[in-house]
Symmetry: none
Subunit: 217 residues, 2 copies
């Protein structure tokens, strides 16, 4: 039985190039290719492919949301997410959504085809550049968590955590925050960790960006 693959990418050339690469492989079969995330959801549920290769960034619905949608509805299709550059924040959300693989588009053709076989047999494959820390976070934080409402995210922070976030956003180090708030640096670090985890951010740099983008400053 050949591995049935669905491809979703908004670049037509990428799709056609991928298709021809798949057709050279006796054990792989491309059952369809679509150009946006909503079509991807529809086709995955209609065709039930073994593996779906989704671009992270697509019109109408991105690959992450598409992954959350189909897996949230109980689909057994394995998902490989494709991204152009390694952006950890995408990867985190993608893995939480239940994606089995995360690859770079610049990856050589053979490796990409190999990745499809890997996830088709049930294994997970993450680009080496992403590390074990994301995997471990994935395995224990594995609540479905499908709807990341933007305004609700902030409410999940406690009062102290919001304070810490604002201090971070002003560019202060943990030690500085600690002395300003009259607590130990360890305490600050704990709060910082919670803030990052709850908001799905990687480090304090992204926390600063979050604060500015959400008009907290």
């Amino acid at each position: 039985m050949r591995i049935r693959v669905l491809l979703a990418d908004d670049h037509e050339f990428f799709r056609s190039g991928f298709r021809s690469a798949l057709e050279t492989q006796p054990d792989l079969e491309c059952v369809g290719d679509v150009g946006d995330g909503r079509e991807a959801v529809t086709e995955i549920e209609r065709l039930r492919p073994d593996v779906a290769v989704l671009d992270v960034r697509m019109p109408r619905m991105d690959g992450l949301t598409a992954t959350e949608t189909v897996l949230g509805r109980g689909s057994t299709t394995r998902i490989i997410l494709l991204t152009t550059y390694d952006d950890d924040s995408y990867i985190y959300r993608g893995l939480r959504a239940g994606a089995s693989g995360f690859c770079l588009k610049s990856m050589p053709t053979e490796e990409l085809l190999g990745a499809i076989r890997v996830v088709a047999r049930g294994d997970a494959l993450i680009d080496p550049s992403v590390t074990a820390r994301l995997v471990t976070r994935f395995t224990d934080g594995l609540a479905p968590a499908p709807a990341p409402a933007p305004s609700t995210e902030l409410d999940r922070l406690t009062g102290r955590e919001r304070e810490i976030l604002l201090e971070m956003a002003r560019g202060r180090s943990n030690a500085e925050i600690a002395s300003r708030l009259f607590v130990g640096e360890q305490t600050v670090k704990t709060h910082v960790s919670h803030v990052l985890t709850k908001l799905g951010l990687r480090d304090r740099v992204q926390a600063v960006i979050y604060a500015y983008e959400n008009s907290l400053l």
Copy 2:
């Protein structure tokens, strides 16, 4: 006489897909494809194609610089620049450089092939969605004028350093910046150090704040 086309893009799939699409067209001919900007310059000057389709983002030299280079040297090759989504900041520079077309990679194949014919006969073509963003960029970029305020410090930075600053401001790690700009991580660290020193900042967190406070984002 067939229209002779040169293609430059760092993604192998994209190039091969594009080539096969071109081969189905009796009036178009792909005279070469290259994977980076410098090769593009070399090949444009050697092969003198009618149209060159250049990805904006490529290793060694980006499509914009390549455009500026070849057109600055008097080449008559028409340039179509390809962009993905998020690099609107480059559009303006691309048009100034004298590019004849500006298209999104997600554009349907037929339209892209049509665009080649359009620019080959001397007309200009800009993707509608690109135009839209260009307009909004103009309209809300009018009020603040040429921004004389933050100039003194900022223009002490070299071009590369400004690029690095923007990358930092988007929350990217040194490794991510390195892969996006196709240079080594050591190089990025050097630039980052220079940026911090020149702007009198302590770390990249403060660099992000600087970028937001000075409306660089």
